[in-house]
């Protein structure tokens, strides 16, 4: 994977083949079933989270602890490591300190692709700008395969701010690799021009979810600058929020997903989040096993 680089990394999902996806899912399944303990005692993983995160960070942290790995959290909020130093210098110094793998989150799209050309240890992208969030897409796909067996030809709706969503982008790549049929849904300001070139359908109406097998709501990034893109959060909720009434309208076997944290009452209502159709907590749980699998495979040079 990523043969462009000196070392294997997980920077996006675009370059992951169906076979590589299966490799990851098989190992995640083993971890989940406790078949394999996969210890990497003595290994040091460096966390560089340049954007706030704890769902993803907490999940990576437990994944590392389960594998017996030491975590060095050198995220800027915890540290001054990065001040006055380039990210490359920081990474090289951490390698000199014994770091064997990095998990990085950064608000600049593509920064890890640049970094990966400079250093020799694997990088896992924990989310970069609007570019990619590969482990989220992997855990979503893993959860769906666990639920449906296969998602070939399943109809997927992805609802929300597709334009600014790295989760959407990474999910589109894996879901297409796995043979699903994708429609992105949102107001025009949220649909990037040319998205159809990724092989997805476009809809501006939430009615599309009535035909879907998989309904994936994206988080509205309250903290991001959205002024002008939507009139208000309540307006968005009224047009694109999944509400209790939808539960009787969608296919009974349809599943509802959300990468979290959920803004209840905006993207989805509390009743929907807690309904039997919801896979939200399964997503969280599976995140640990997917991250254990990816870390293991990269450390062993098997990805």
């Amino acid at each position: 994977m990523q043969s462009l680089y000196k070392t294997s990394h997980l920077l996006d999902t675009e370059h992951l083949s169906h076979k590589e996806l299966n490799l990851i899912f098989d190992l995640a399944r083993k971890f989940k079933n406790n078949d394999t303990l996969g210890t990497h005692r003595g290994t040091n993983v460096g966390f560089l989270f340049h954007e706030a995160s704890t769902r993803t960070k907490g999940s990576f942290l437990i994944a590392c602890k389960n594998l017996g790995i030491n975590v060095l959290d050198l995220s800027p909020q915890n540290s001054s490591f990065v001040k006055g130093e380039s990210l490359v210098d920081t990474a090289e110094n951490l390698i000199a300190l014994g770091v064997n793998l990095f998990v990085i989150r950064h608000n600049q799209s593509g920064i890890m692709n640049y970094l990966s050309e400079k250093i020799d240890v694997p990088i896992i992208n924990g989310g970069d700008g609007m570019h990619a969030h590969p482990t989220q897409a992997l855990l979503d796909a893993f959860t769906l395969i666990e639920h449906f067996g296969s998602i070939e030809n399943k109809k997927v709706s992805i609802i929300g701010d597709i334009k600014h969503s790295r989760v959407a982008r990474s999910n589109i790549h894996t879901l297409k690799t796995l043979g699903a049929e994708i429609t992105v849904i949102g107001p025009k300001t949220f649909i990037p021009i040319g998205i159809e070139k990724m092989g997805v359908n476009i809809s501006y109406s939430l009615d599309t979810i009535l035909e879907s097998d998989i309904i994936m709501a994206l988080r509205i990034q309250k903290e991001r600058q959205l002024s002008g893109l939507i009139p208000s959060f309540s307006d968005y909720a009224s047009c694109y929020g999944i509400k209790e009434k939808h539960l009787t309208e969608i296919k009974s076997e349809a599943v509802i997903m959300h990468p979290g944290p959920v803004n209840r009452g905006i993207e989805i209502s509390g009743k929907v989040a807690d309904s039997k159709n919801s896979l939200i907590l399964e997503q969280t749980t599976n995140g640990i096993f997917i991250r254990m699998a990816v870390i293991s495979l990269l450390l062993e040079g098997n990805l």
Copy 2:
């Protein structure tokens, strides 16, 4: 304990029977004597400290490490986990991540009682508003029993801002359960109306401590809004601060306690804090064993 709830929790000391107190103290004693190692390897404990703390947090941290427990510190200063999510959602997601028990501190009194109705894993209250701080009361009682054997009929003075003190409230419950006779001491603005209904005496003069076996000074919360309640800290110190001269006036076998951190020269003078009557450092040390005991008992379903 707390049969109101689906799972056992430690939310206050009000509902702890004498028998349950002994159960906790017996296990704490075993941990202190290294009789029992009580390992819970593979267990994940989530820390949610919504108020600054490190004495309590550090003590819980060492308790967890001694038990082989992984700690996930998702306190808001470290994390954005809670942003845009209710505490219930946060907790449910952490449970999905594998958290087996929570230690929570929060400035809202009673919030953990609400949370405990919603989730199925044990919660330990690390202090909530002006309501309760059960592990502090347990470690205080444990320290006293270790020192005196029994505290039945011992005279206890609790001095300070009784009104706003969760430490006072939790201590009153355990000390009464253990048969002690309690007097609360402070300026009128610090004594809550109706406190005598808890079965305690009231005094407005520090002279009361001359008859006491146990003298417990509370911390003046400098960071809280006290404007109007007392004229000044030095005024408080002059009327209610325990000073060197008291050491010759109090019973020679009387003990002096403080939950820490001590404002030396306000609640008690440096000489008093360091005197042979002081149990302050014993309190700190015992905190670890009490917390190990409570965590163990809750994880094993034995409380």
Copy 3:
């Protein structure tokens, strides 16, 4: 060492004999070669970093983990431990919590000397004001001895803000103990009056490095108040920055060092930092082994 105090500490390098330096280096070498695993499982080390740090902190953290030591990071950014409490009270309470050794960084010069008179567990100075940074000096000397075998009579240039540098001060002590000949280089405002009494030469010109075996650039502390001392950073860089052209002018076997983090283009250029003469990453790596050695020796009472 430090027989002034009740317990051994590492507060500066001034009092370390050549024999004691060798003791430290020998153990560091063993750790580096994996000859000795030196486990201190069950030991608690308290971190009190009152100044931002992560290179040093990360290095101490890995050193502790390698030794099986629990780290309690009670640095003020993580904690409120210190609020309203003197450093002595904080330390005593941490000792009561089971802390066996402290690593402290503080902006007040000499504060640890004061603290060391009051408490009974070893303190390692992780940098105090403009006074000392002993583990940095030890890792620098270790790196040089590893490289050269001996540094007796080697010519060392230390370039930068000597006046405000604890790194310079600690290095001067160890390098002189090991027999090196030292010149400090910088603008007059950076050279403290009377520095020649430490047995060093003074130069105001970077040309001096052409004769040096060891060229040590200090970090310009951008975050410190430098107004007035130098006209601008670019001015400093043009007069005292080590640039690519110097690589052909200095002795071919000369080595270039920097305590990090490097301000590339100010103290040294990127080409110089990455050149074959640079020992910068070796310094980082060796920091772990030096810190393992110092922690081990102090815990065992052998220093």
